[in-house]
């Protein structure tokens, strides 16, 4: 009994051990192989996919159409081989969306801000009128200014009519009335653009020398031009704000003129994509400059008493010059005498002296 028991025990044990080892092996191999089934599945899925792709050449065809691939067409002209161009939808979203609405918020916001400033704080008063004047803007500069200014205002009104007229003017003028105005405004805008460009270019070149940033301009920005605390930061012929305005006109003006060139000459073969981009650049550039011009008009009239005289008669009061452009006045005085009337001295004095 004890013997057989002793014999049976190890035999049983070894069978058990064997079974255990085998099953462990099966589990181990199974654990390694089973995940590989994923590859089989993936491979078969890929094969199926490939088959599906092969099976539908039409999908390829429509994909090409959708991507704007040009085909052959007997009809002559630009982009006639393109069945679908998607850029128009993007342009529509941008132009009818942010350009129209944010542009309106920006321009109207600026006007509202200026009105609020005028009502609550008021423009800078001329502190001390001396009665003596100095020449600030010679005749040529004044003519150049008003020539460009008037053209700018005409272009802004006609241009904004095309952007906002549908929402702002059609309800007032009616469809026919507005169309009549737009039919007039469009060619006016298109032809006067050329004359405005000429004025802008001469202006940018002629007044470059006044608008190079100098050391004292940092002080002007630090005091925010003295608009809010009534201080008078030092300034030469142009203060830092005017210089910033000048450079905004340089950059914005270039954007407007360059993009306008595209829009103005469809006969030169620009395609739709170029027109869409040009239109958005033209809109954004114009709206930014129009916003700045609103501020400029305010600061040249109500915002700074005595400033407008310089652009009308060419002469500004010495008190005004001392208040707003002290460094320039010092320079003028160094080179020549300020005077009661006439145009013999002032900025041009060194040349004639």
């Amino acid at each position: 009994m004890s013997e057989s028991q002793a014999r049976g025990k190890p035999a049983k044990l070894s069978r058990r051990v064997k079974a255990m080892l085998w099953s462990m092996l099966v589990i181990a191999v199974g654990a390694m192989v089973a995940p590989l089934a994923g590859y089989v599945y993936a491979a078969s899925a890929q094969a199926q996919e490939q088959k599906a792709e092969e099976a539908n050449p039409r999908a390829e065809y429509w994909r090409e159409v959708r991507q704007g691939t040009a085909g052959y067409t007997a009809v002559t002209g630009q982009e006639t081989g393109v069945l679908v161009q998607s850029g128009g939808q993007v342009w529509r979203e941008v132009r009818n969306g942010p350009v129209t609405t944010l542009g309106a918020i920006m321009v109207v916001g600026m006007i509202v801000a200026l009105v609020v400033f005028q009502v609550t704080k008021g423009g800078a008063k001329l502190e001390h009128r001396t009665g003596r004047t100095v020449l600030r803007w010679p005749m040529f500069d004044r003519v150049l200014h008003w020539y460009t200014a008037i053209l700018f205002i005409i272009l802004a009104i006609t241009g904004l009519s095309l952007l906002w007229g549908r929402y702002a003017l059609i309800p007032i003028m009616g469809a026919e009335g507005f169309a009549a105005w737009a039919n007039f405004a469009k060619p006016v805008h298109d032809y006067l653009a050329l004359f405005f460009t000429a004025g802008l270019v001469v202006m940018v070149v002629k007044w470059f020398k006044h608008n190079v940033f100098e050391a004292q301009d940092r002080q002007w920005f630090k005091q925010l031009g003295g608009f809010f605390d009534g201080s008078h930061p030092p300034a030469g012929f142009c203060n830092a704000g005017e210089k910033a305005y000048y450079w905004l006109l340089v950059v914005g003006g270039f954007a407007i003129v360059a993009s306008g060139f595209f829009l103005l000459f469809p006969n030169l073969g620009f395609e739709r994509e170029a027109m869409q981009i040009a239109n958005v650049v033209h809109g954004i550039g114009s709206l930014v400059v129009i916003t700045a011009v609103c501020a400029h008009i305010y600061l040249g009239t109500l915002g700074s008493e005595g400033a407008l005289e310089g652009m009308v008669s060419g002469e500004v009061d010495e008190g005004w010059a001392k208040q707003h452009h002290n460094l320039w006045l010092d320079e003028v005085k160094k080179h020549g005498q300020a005077h009661g009337e006439g145009e013999s001295s002032g900025r041009s004095a060194p040349a004639s002296a």
Binding site: A74, G77, V82, R272
Partner: protein, 196 residues
């Protein structure tokens, strides 16, 4: 009310340009203006496909959305038309349209384009139906006479379908059912074998 639609069956279009010619002739469309055109992709390669395209009379028409003078309107039949008396020829509708449908009689310096012209689904424009003024500005008004667009009517293979969207869809669905399964199981390969 019907909702008018065009559909071009690319499996049937043989690029004969009959639709283009029919349109030009019916409406006396001026030289340089093409209300409809046929575009062939992979031209000359076996399996090339042609599509006849014109104004698709979109439900949410981009041309209409960007028009500064709001001169577009959609008829009760879902046809997108425009008023040439209001149009200022700014070109915006052409920039926005996915299909290149808006056309201009001129394209000159200083943005001179003339009044925009496009497919009217043979439905004319704002003036009285088939009045002299309507024919002069927009072409014939076949819809007012109870007829369908001539391009589709004259299509030799009936690839180009025009009419109520539901009916057009039914015809097309029936064709697809008859053709059965995948596109390569009929057409060129089936008729002439692959290597021909």
């Amino acid at each position: 009310m019907a909702r008018m639609k065009f559909l071009c069956d690319s499996e049937r279009c043989i690029e004969c340009n009959g639709c283009v010619t029919a349109c030009k002739n019916e409406h006396d469309v001026p030289w340089g203006v093409n209300r409809r055109r046929v575009v062939t992709l992979e031209d000359g390669v076996p399996g090339e496909k042609s599509i006849s395209v014109a104004c698709m009379h979109c439900t949410d028409a981009p041309c209409s959305a960007v028009c500064p003078v709001d001169c577009f309107y959609t008829t009760d039949d879902g046809i997108v038309l425009h008023d040439k008396d209001l149009c200022i020829g700014c070109g915006y509708c052409f920039y926005a349209c996915p299909f290149g449908a808006p056309q201009y009689p001129q394209k000159e310096a200083f943005g001179v384009r003339g009044k925009m012209d496009k497919c009217t689904f043979c439905a004319g424009g704002p003036p009285a139906d088939n009045s002299e003024q309507e024919i002069e500005k927009y072409g014939r008004n076949r819809i007012a006479e109870g007829k369908l667009p001539l391009c589709a009517e004259m299509c030799s293979t009936k690839a180009l379908l025009a009419g109520d969207g539901d009916m057009v869809a039914d015809i097309y669905r029936e064709r697809i059912m008859k053709r059965g399964t995948r596109p390569q199981s009929w057409g060129w390969e089936k008729a002439y074998q692959e290597d021909v």
